[in-house]
Amino acid sequence: MRQAPSIEFTGTARFDTHPLFPPVALEIDSGSWSCLLGPSGCGKSTILRLIAGLDTGVTFEGHIRASDGGPVPERVAYMAQTDLLLPWLDVVGNVTLGARLRGEAPQVAQAEALVARLGLKDHAHKRPAQLSGGQRQRVALARTLMEDRAIVLLDEPFSALDARMRSEMQDLAAEHLAGRTVLLVTHDPGEAARLGDRVFLLDEAGMVEAVPPAVPSIRPVDNPDMLAFQARLLKALREGR
């Protein structure tokens, strides 16, 4: 993996004539975590999908640029709210899916090592249906890591997990995605407060940046500054700033 670029997203989007979000500017810093926090339906997933080059059904006016001038969608790995594991492939088959889809030889040994590193050694040849929700999301993380992309887009990937599993997955993701340019879209202030090197709040009025505490991410779950920041984010969400 080469030096991860930073990404600059500026623009506005609308459905036909109905505006989805007003002109916004989002800076996703190189090699760090940027969190985009907002209520459901505010367009935060649309921003992520626009960066990933996926269909959105909106008209977008603006630009998405990488700091090194290279293309963005080709260098993106994507992790969604559901694990998106293919039920007919085993764990290793799912982790090596990208290579199969590109017509490359799947690197099975590397995938097995990765699966073992994420604590799924005994499950390497199980089908997704035989795994728990947390295990499935770990396989999805392994699949994302296997892609070895400089830019990682996370669309609420931990929101379906219970509180304990969610915090463990946050630790695991922070550890393994270090050095990459990460955009995490979330509606959970706690998640943004723990993980964000930069945190952006989005609602129908537009986007503002909230300055996180000086404690480097990933922040301990009981850090007072982190908890105060979480409370501030929640308050901002409730009051619409």
């Binding site: 080059g53 996926l54 969604a80 998106l84 039920p87 899916l97 990208g98 199969r100 889809l101 887009l153």
Partner: protein, 245 residues
């Protein structure tokens, strides 16, 4: 095992009722022969019935294979090509307004009394259910799978082959299960219209000669063949879906 027992019990009950109807209903044997007479006819004409059953069996299997292949190919074409969806799909649906049975005399006229008019009849009957079920499955791939594939840099062909087709297999299987029951209907209709062999032909022949017991024996064998085919296709589909799911 339980299913087998239940099958036997249901068959025994059915045979008893049948025999009772014949014994106490005073029906003459040329209207409804009893099960024993039918069994006797089956035994005495085993070679004859087996020969005709072989012909029908070949027609049905060939029809099933070709119909499933054409149906699946059509579904794939419609799934990948918006132009094909625009041009072919309305025509495909319109053909269903035509009673396929009405085509049997035309097929016999064009293809003769051999097996091909019956094979084509079976193909025409099962083509639509297979194409329609598989096409629906191909168009209903979970959108998240497609998003994932696109971010991974998949070409449309690999997306189709590695994601859309496998996730449509359960739909294809339900189309094939229907086809297994429909295919023998097509073959027998074709034989009634004009044939030189087959169970449908044998039934008409026996009917004309008032060998009603032979007619029932042929009908019984036809029912058994259809059930076996349905079970075999169902088993194959279950295996396929288990590999997928």
């Amino acid at each position: 095992m339980d299913g087998l027992k239940r099958g036997f019990a249901a068959t025994a009950l059915f045979l008893c009722l049948w025999q009772a109807l014949v014994s106490f209903g005073g029906l003459p044997a040329f209207i409804l022969p009893g099960p024993l007479r039918v069994a006797e006819a089956l035994w005495k004409n085993a070679g004859l019935i087996a020969w005709h059953a072989g012909i029908t069996g070949i027609e049905v299997l060939a029809g099933l294979l070709l119909g499933a292949a054409f149906g699946a190919a059509t579904a794939l074409l419609l799934a990948v090509s918006p132009a094909a969806r625009y041009l072919i799909k309305p025509a495909l649906v319109a053909t269903q307004a035509l009673p396929v049975f009405a085509l049997a005399p035309i097929l016999t006229l064009w293809l003769g009394y051999g097996i091909w008019s019956k094979v084509l009849m079976a193909v025409l009957i099962i083509y639509f259910p297979v194409a329609s079920a598989f096409f629906d499955g191909l168009m209903r791939t979970p959108p998240g799978f497609l998003d994932l594939g696109r971010t991974m840099g998949a070409t449309p062909a690999r997306l189709l082959w590695r994601i859309r087709v496998p996730s449509a297999i359960p739909s294809l299987a339900s189309g094939l299960r229907l086809a297994a029951v429909y295919a023998p209907i097509g073959a027998v209709i074709g034989e009634w219209v004009g044939a030189a062999g087959g169970l449908g032909y044998l039934m008409l022949l026996a009917n004309g000669r008032v060998k009603i017991d032979l007619m029932f024996a042929a009908l019984f064998v036809l029912a058994v063949l259809t059930l076996l085919l349905h079970r075999a296709v169902g088993w194959g589909c279950d295996r396929l879906v288990a590999r997928i799911d």
